[in-house]
Subunit: 364 residues, 2 copies
Amino acid sequence: MPPTSPASAGAQVAAADVAALAAGAAIFGTGGGGAVHTAQVVAEQVLLENGPVPLVTVDELGPDDLVMLMSGIGAPTVGIEMLSSRHQIDLLVREAQAAAGRPITALMAAEIGGSNGVSPVGWASRLGLKLLDADGMGRAFPSAAMVSMNVAGLPCDFAILSDVVGNVSVIKTIDLHWLERHARALTVASGSICLGAHYPMTAETARGAVVEGTVSAAIRVGHALLSASEPVAAVAAELGGSILLTGKITDLDRRTEDGFARGSVTIAGTGADRGRLQRLELQNENLVVLEDGEVLASVPDNVTVIDAETGQAITTEMLRYGQRVAVLAWACDPIWRTPRGLELAGPQAFGYDLTYVPFKETTR
Amino acid sequence: MPPTSPASAGAQVAAADVAALAAGAAIFGTGGGGAVHTAQVVAEQVLLENGPVPLVTVDELGPDDLVMLMSGIGAPTVGIEMLSSRHQIDLLVREAQAAAGRPITALMAAEIGGSNGVSPVGWASRLGLKLLDADGMGRAFPSAAMVSMNVAGLPCDFAILSDVVGNVSVIKTIDLHWLERHARALTVASGSICLGAHYPMTAETARGAVVEGTVSAAIRVGHALLSASEPVAAVAAELGGSILLTGKITDLDRRTEDGFARGSVTIAGTGADRGRLQRLELQNENLVVLEDGEVLASVPDNVTVIDAETGQAITTEMLRYGQRVAVLAWACDPIWRTPRGLELAGPQAFGYDLTYVPFKETTR
C-alpha cells in the first residue's frame, strides 16, 4: 500500500494504513509495552467497519473546527477492553462538547509514539471525526506536561475522563502537572484505566502549538519498515536519522520505580561495530546514549532500539539479554530545542546532569 | 439568645445563633474531631461581617430555587485554611452553576452533625445565599451514600470539588459509592482537603428527600445545652431522647482503620446507675449500645456520649479513660427506618449481625 501523503488535500487513513501507522508509532515511542499491537488490531477493525478517517492539516481547519486530544490513561494491558466500550467514548465526547460549548470536529493524538499514536484513528472513525495530522510530542514522553502546547504556552482549558463503569469527570487544573496528578488519582479510583480527552484547540490556537505531520510521518516510517528489503536502513533514512551502533545486548539493569521502567542497557557492537560499547539510559523511553563517556544523543532527541534484522521497535519492557539490535537516533521537533522545550523535556528534566547537545548526523 | 424557630417565615441564622448551632451540631454527630469549634469560629466571623442568613423551609422554595449541598471533604484539622479561601468557594459555585445551567439560590448541609452542619451557614452568608432548614442525614454518617436523598431514590446529577490551589473538577458518577471513591481520590491528590458541592435539587426534588428542620433543631438543642441549669436533661428533653446511663469510662479500645476510628468504649454506671455496665461500638460515630448482651439502641438511631456535667458532646476521638459521661440516645428520622434506609445505614450496613429494633423511650 502507498503511504499516506502528509499535506495533500483529501488525505485519509484507511484500515490498510493501520499496520504501517502502528509500526511507525512503535518506532516513535517505546515505553508502552505491547499496547501498540492491541491498538492496531482494534483500530483496523473499526476502520473496516466504519470506513477511513480524513487526515487534515492545521491549515485545513476552519473557524468552526474544535480539536481535542484523546488518549488512553493507565495500565496499557487493560486497554483493549476500554476500546470496545462505545458508551465510554460517547460519554467522554458528550461531556467534552458540553464543557467546550460546541461540537468537537477533530481528534489529535497526545503523542504519536506508542498506542496513543494509533488508537485515535479508531476513535475518530467511530465518532465520524477528522484526525489532525499532528500530535503533542512528535514522539512519546512519560509526562502529560511534556507537550508542545505547553512549550508554546497554550493552557489546557479542561480535561475529561470517562471509565468503563460509566463515571465521567471534568477536570480544570491550574497547570498540566496538577492535571496529571488528578487524572492519575481518578484513573486509579476507576480501576486503573480511563479514556481521556483534553486540550481543546481551535485552528488558531493549534497553529504553532502542535507538532505537525506526525501521523503521516509514522505511516511513512512504518511503510518503509514493512516493505523495504533493508528495513533498518530504510527506517533511518525515512527519519533522517542514524544507526549509532549495531550489536548485542550484553547487560540489562532495569527496575520499575514509581510506575516507570528505569535502568540502563549495555550493547556491545558486532560486525563492523565490533569492539565498541554503548550504554542507554532509560525511563520508560530511551533517553541517553553514551559511548566512551561521551553523549551521542539525548532527550529530547529520539533514541529507539530496533531489531537488527526486521527494524521493528523493541519496547523498553521487551529488551532482553542477547538480543541483536540497532540503536537508532534522530532529531526531535525544533520546538523541543527551544529554552522552554528543554526546560520541560531536556536531559535535566529527567535528572541527568548533562548539557543538551542537539543530535546531528554523524559521518561514521 | 432565643432559638431560631423552625418553620416561621422570615427565620434566619445570625452570628449570635452560631454557638448554639455548633453545640447542637456536635450532639448530632461526633465523628469529626475538633472541627466543629473551628467551623463555629469561622462562621461567626463571616456572619458578623456579612450579616445573617435566611433560613428557609422546602415549602418556601420557589420554582427558580436551586439547592446544593456544600461540604468540606478530607482531613478536618486542615479545614480552617480552606474556609478562608474566597477563590476556592467562588470557583466551586461558578462550576456548579455552569454544570447546573442556572444559579444556585440556597445551600444545604450534607449532614447536620459535626462541622459540616455548621460551615454551610458561613458559606451561605459569604455567597449571599439562603440556607435550607434541612440536611441529608438528620445526624452524621461516615459515608456519602448514607443520605436521605439516596434513600428516596433521588440521584446526584453531579458533584464539584475545588481545592486551595485553584483546581476544580466536575464529577458525574453512576452512584454515590463511586462518587465517594472519586471524590476521595481527588481530595488526596489535592493535598487531603477540598470543598465540595453536590446533589443539585429543586423544591420539587427536595420535597420528601431531605431531612427537614434539622438546622433549627440543632440550634434549639444547642441553646438548651448552653442555657439550661440541667443541660443533660434539657438536651435529652429537646431531642425527645433518653439518658441510657450516667457513669465513667472504664475501658477504651479504639484504633484507626481505613481512615475510620473504630473500637468500643465501656462505661460503668455511677450514682443511681451504679452496678450497670454498657458497651458502645463505634465507627467514627457511636453506633450500638449494649448492656448485659442486649442492644439498647443502634444505628440508624442516634447515640451520643455527652459530658455528665455540661451536656457537651464528646467526639469519639476525644473519649478518654475516666471521663464522667452520659449516654444519650434518640430516634432517627423516620426515613432511616424504611427498608431502603436500613439497607443503607442499618446495623448490618456497618457489619453488625443484629436485627434493628427502633429506639423508644424507656421507662427507667
